[in-house]
Amino acid sequence: IMCASAKYNTRGPALIPRMRTKHRIYYITLFSIVLLGVVATGVFQFWPHSIESSSDWTVEKRSVHDVPVVKLPSDSPIPERGDLSCRMHTCFDVYRCGFNPKNKIKVYIYSLKKYVDEYGTSVSSTISREYNELLTAISDSEFYTDDVNRACLFVPSIDVLNQNTLRIKETAQALAQLSRWDRGTNHLLFNMLPGGPPDYNTALDVPRDRALLAGGGFSTWTYRQGYDVSIPVYSPLSGEVELPERGPGPRRYFILSSQMALHPEYQAELEALQAENGDSVLILDKCTNLSDGVPAVRKRCHKNQVFDYPQVLQESTFCVVLRGARLGQAVLSDVLQAGCVPVIIADSYILPFSEVLDWKRASVVIPEEKMPEMYSILQSVPQRQIEEMQRQARWFWEAYFRSMKAIALATLQIINDRIYPYAAISYEEWNDPPAVKWSSVSNPLFLPLIPPQSQGFTAIVLTYDRVESLFRVITEVSKVPSLAKLLVVWNNQNKNPPEDSLWPKIRVPLKVVRTAENKLSNRFFPYDEIETEAVLAIDDDIIMLTSDELQFGYEVWREFPDRLVGYPGRLHLWDHEMNKWKYESEWTNEVSMVLTGAAFYHKYFNYLYTYKMPGDIKNWVDAHMNCEDIAMNFLVANVTGKSVIKVTPRKKFKCPECTAIDGLSLDQTHMVERSECINKFASVFGTMPLKVVEHRADPVLYKDDFPEKLKSFPNIGSL
């Protein structure tokens, strides 16, 4: 089986929008004929896609009140109540989802109907604004399919967001008569306000059999972990009020409570807190004497003081989110939007999207019984962490709370992740705000390993036609004890490499790879012949390094296998006059790059250089025949966030950078070009990843007053 996704892109109906014009005309013609046919005959069943599609036909001009009416006989079946033991592997039919290269579930939406009982009384209001938004979002998303036969997940258009607006039995009957209901298998219901008086169940009371529930306000007893999805209670204020993001930092109030009509017991607890801690605690309530026309939901009062809601939330560091009759509260959304850190006091509440969101980074959860300790608990949170929580809270709102679309897509993504777990979105993608994603680094070689010395390294010599010098390099490098293999990359297509018999006889395998084109990137190709982790890139004229120096370099690389470990170091500097980066090869106290004319590094970086180099850098380097080493330095620093390691003292290298521009020995032109490279790469990477350090690595006893013959690496730094 092939893995390349390209293979799958060439077939299947998904391609229709991108068809060639010829085909498009063909389909348009076909469609016109069909259209004509329909109009002419008036036969609605003509369209091959069943009644549902045809009834949607006049889409642009339809009102929600014009939808088909379905009458529910009073004895029509009611689904089972709902099975608390349901899990994906027991109640979900995964065969419907299939193995597809995009790893995306297909979601079908039932068309809108109006359900009435035997007496013609409607079962519920047809659809709410929010549920319509939610279905529109699904319909516009990549998950959507209009083909009921290809669907993996079914979303009824029956709106059950708010249980209070429903007739429970009849809604259940409406669900049961859906064409693919099949005990609710693979059906997804969205509910934000579950339960009703007096006991307020924490999950939707409508019998729903095996259907999955995306619910706001689950408790740990009703939530079926890994099956249901816990969602927020949407706050319509999100759409009405713009709250510009406020920079993190201390606020006027430390703790704020903004919920109206709290239970007197909670009220008393809060007031006790305020009595103890004074003005840093602000407890707001509903305003009693507002003038007419002022919407009560947009104001809050403390004694005679009137505050705008939700704006006032931005004035506090922490905002209390207490449970009401229900566990899920819309105020959570307002609080997050304001960048206020929620203090969630609702025992056993399953926080929204808790399957993927790490709420410890954005909120403080306090058990109801610990309310009296709230102040001291919150004071123990370090200031820097509060700032991060403020950012995180706001990010959660922007990504997962701000609209019904955000809620719908997060829900579907969570279900998608369960069905294709091997393609699931990672913790970091779910939780890291964009600024963190941008500034953080996840090192691909993160495990601290010191590779065994016995493995040795592979030396790769890039050469064109300097055979004599090449042979000297081979002879010198072959003296290094840990050399495991030598690979010569013959980059000259016009000339054959010397005959086998002419090559130096060395104790390790020597292989010659001939390249198809004279490109610098050939030096960094992850050749199969490289069987060691460690690679020594060395130019065909670097003959001044001693065996001790090279062996020591290898030992240093073993201690830093995720870095470039090299000999000549270089530095990048900010040129304040020119306002751009400048390349520096003088004797400096700092280094930020090592030349790859002689450097050890992990073979993984060859793979990255060849296949994952950002932008056009790889081709650009090949075209300019320069700066492949700078590109490699950028790449490694960017992906690891770490500096290079320069080893051993400075030696007289025979203009090591001249190799790249054979013939051109004009130092200044060279420096200008190298500076250009740095500026070019910094703009492609969108950042300056190079790290400046002031150290280099020497053997432990280097230059120490100690008998030379007892040192592991005596021959270091000889000129």
Binding site: L161, T165, D358, V365, I366, V441, N589, E590, R696, D698
Partner: protein
């Protein structure tokens, strides 16, 4: 275009007129005055949500943990009570931990001395009449605040999760947990481990290099029993279908149990022949992915075996609540297969990108080493998860659990903020603070500051990176008055220390910078040396960076670890007599290490230094860093190294290796010098010319 539009959800002409799903007032204040009070509701909840519906808030008494914190009590062993090897190890792990208490009145959590690991009543280790026994325990209290460990439950043929006694309100830490019977946020799923699992330390993972491409000889392997009948046979009977004899090796045998031949089918004989051709260990070592299917029970030994072998587990065990899933993000280390979709597995694993495979391999090794490689780690992880539930606002985020060095080594008591730890600067996109706190230990018995310490204070206070100087006055005599101390540009504070050696690593509140420069008073350093070392430390904030190094070695003749302070080509210890390290290590030293170990150290000369190095190496798996030192400093060291203390240090080293269960120290062959150190270039161009004197 139109043809497409109509297939989507309609844009209603009147959609702007649709009503909101809820009245704004309903959303903002839904309180129903007739509701019972929260207090009543909580009380009512307690009586309803018990036993199989237990949650921490209904079945656990938090108040027991208020006064003394998280303390764990183990019931005294009874003489006639047989204990399996595994259960003895579990009890030993608890008793070795820093949470152990011998006083039940202090305890927050209780662990029985009755061996409950094997509850298969056909097993020889099955303990009878457990119900009766526990009911006789005055501390049992219906199982409240008890933790029960179990590896095997139920028996042939259906292997239910019944333990054969009533656990009441006790937390169950059990292997092979089925999601349906798992009480979320209350129970803990633990891995199945064998009786040979080491008590401490534990074997290393088998990944010793990051190969590219990360693929090994085989792509996917399985070698194990096939059940002809009964529970679990469905999955295991199908495994042979994916065998291709090339890179996918999936071998089963029917040979197990007494009467396998009675049930044998047409495949058995042929399968048995193939089965013998491959060696299980060889497959484990040489495969990229390992199938970990359910057996009779959901978990199996091969889960941990694959994890250790860096053979990425492909789980085929539907409904298995994965070990420590409350903390561990298994999606980063294992492929969650679906028993019903076995035939998709080959394509799924074949299509995984090499970078991902490489990351998964590394993650298996991290998880193995952090949470599974010894009984200590498994038990301590269990305890830490429970503790995190009790002190919610001081608990670990999922990030801390799933990032090196892991949850056991990232103490939430120290901080819950990533920036405060030495490990996460890169992932967090930040860097350590630009200042350090010098922390000088004074022990000389004179009543006034000694000459060396005065010189040292002068040199340190000259550093542009120095934020403050703290002197830990560990002498019997009271510290000299402030007038006797030199005038410095940075604040100088005297802290009265108590006698103990390990006191120098106490997490003093006065230390506010990330970096600590730990010093002994007789040390002589120049400002240049301090500056350079600090700049180096900022590149390696998780390591000890210092001037004086020593090394350890294995002495094959005496079969013990040796220790040398002589000049060698390697180093594995940097003395804290003159070193930079992150202040977090003070907390780790004092809070992570059990009291017993610290007492051991206090009894030996110059052992606290080694312990700090061992601790940091155990956390980072990396050697310390030695930086350039001037000549005079070297001389002071060589004077110190007399025979007596060296012998004691050797003793210390061996005791520590024994306690950790392995030798954490790692050797390095390098030293970091300034870029132009001793280069043939004008001194005027050098930033640290003084270092060359």
């Amino acid at each position: 275009r139109k043809a497409e539009a109509q297939k989507n959800w309609p844009r209603w002409t009147d959609q702007s007129l649709l009503k909101s799903f809820a009245d704004p007032k309903e959303l903002q204040g839904d309180e129903d005055p007739s509701l019972p009070s929260p207090r009543e509701r909580r009380a009512a909840r307690l009586s309803v949500y018990k036993n199989s519906r237990c949650r921490m808030e209904t079945c656990f008494d938090f108040s027991r943990c208020q006064k003394h914190g998280f303390k764990v009590f183990t019931y005294p062993r009874e003489k006639d009570q047989p204990l399996s090897e595994s259960y003895s190890k579990i009890l030993a792990s608890i008793e070795r931990s820093r949470y152990y208490t011998a006083k039940p009145e202090e305890a927050c959590l209780f662990v029985l001395s009755i061996d409950t690991l094997d509850r298969d009543h056909l097993s020889g280790q099955y303990v009878r009449n457990v119900d009766e026994k526990i009911r006789g325990f005055p501390l049992w209290n219906g199982g409240r605040n008890h933790l029960i460990f179990n590896l095997y439950s139920g028996t042939w043929p259906n292997y239910t999760e019944d333990l054969g006694f009533d656990i009441g309100q006790a937390i169950l830490a059990k292997a092979s947990f089925y999601t349906e019977s798992f009480r979320p946020g209350f129970d803990i799923s633990i891995p199945l481990f064998s009786k040979d699992h080491p008590q401490r330390g534990g074997e290393k993972g088998w990944l010793y290099q990051d190969s590219i491409p990360p693929k090994k000889k085989y792509l996917l392997v399985f070698k194990g029993k096939r059940y002809l009948t009964g529970i679990g046979s469905g999955t295991r009977n199908a495994l042979h279908h994916i065998h291709n004899g090339k890179d996918i090796i999936s071998l089963t045998t029917c040979k197990h149990g007494k009467d396998w031949e009675k049930h044998k089918d047409t495949r058995c004989d042929r399968d048995n022949v193939d089965y013998e051709k491959f060696d299980y260990q060889e497959l484990l070592h040489n495969s990229t992915f390992c199938i970990v299917p359910r057996g009779r029970r959901l978990g199996s030994f091969r889960f941990l075996e694959a994890l250790q072998a860096a053979c990425i587990p492909v789980l085929l065990s539907d409904g298995w609540e994965l070990p420590f899933a409350e903390a561990i993000d298994w999606g980063k280390a294992a492929v969650m297969g679906n028993e019903r979709l076995l035939l998709q597995i080959p394509s799924i694993v074949r299509c995984m990108h090499p970078e991902r495979v490489l990351a998964f391999q590394q993650q298996t090794q991290f998880l193995w080493d952090a949470y599974f490689s010894s009984v200590d780690k498994i038990v301590h992880t269990t305890l830490e998860i429970i503790k995190d539930r009790l002190f919610l606002h001081r608990s670990r985020s999922r990030f801390l659990w799933n990032t090196l060095p892991g949850g056991l080594l990232a103490l939430p008591e120290f901080s819950t903020h990533l920036r405060d730890f030495p490990f996460y600067y890169l992932q967090h996109g930040s860097s350590p603070s630009e200042k350090f706190t010098a922390f000088i230990r004074a022990v000389s018995p004179v009543g006034s500051p000694s000459q060396p310490i005065l010189r040292l204070i002068q040199a340190i206070s000259g550093s542009q990176y120095c934020a403050q100087i703290l002197v830990l006055w560990s002498c019997k005599k009271p510290p000299p008055p402030s007038g006797k101390w030199p005038q410095t540009t940075v604040p100088l504070t005297i802290i009265q220390g108590r006698g103990k050696l390990s006191n120098r690593f106490f997490p003093y509140a006065a230390i506010q910078t990330d970096a600590v420069l730990s010093l002994d008073e007789h040390i002589s350093l120049s400002t240049s040396e301090v500056d350079f070392a600090f700049v180096v430390w900022r590149s390696f904030p998780e390591r000890i960076v210092g001037f004086l190094s020593q090394s350890h070695f294995w002495d094959p003749e005496q079969r013990r670890w040796g220790y040398t302070s002589k000049w060698t080509n390697e180093l594995s210890i940097v003395l804290t007599a003159a070193a930079f390290y992150h202040r977090y290590y003070h907390s780790l030293f004092m809070e992570y290490l059990p009291v017993g170990l610290r007492e051991l150290v206090d009894g030996l000369a110059a052992c606290e230094d080694i312990l700090m190095n061992v601790l940091v190496a155990a956390v980072t798996k990396l050697p310390p860093i030695k930086v350039t030192q001037q000549k005079q400093l070297k001389e002071t060291v060589s004077q110190q190294a007399d025979g007596q203390s060296s012998f004691q240090q050797q003793d210390c080293l061996n005791q520590l290796a024994n306690w950790f269960g392995y030798m954490p120290l790692v050797s390095s062959q390098l030293r970091l010098d300034p870029v132009l150190f001793k280069d043939q270039v004008s001194v005027l161009r050098k930033k640290y010319p003084r270092l060359e004197k």
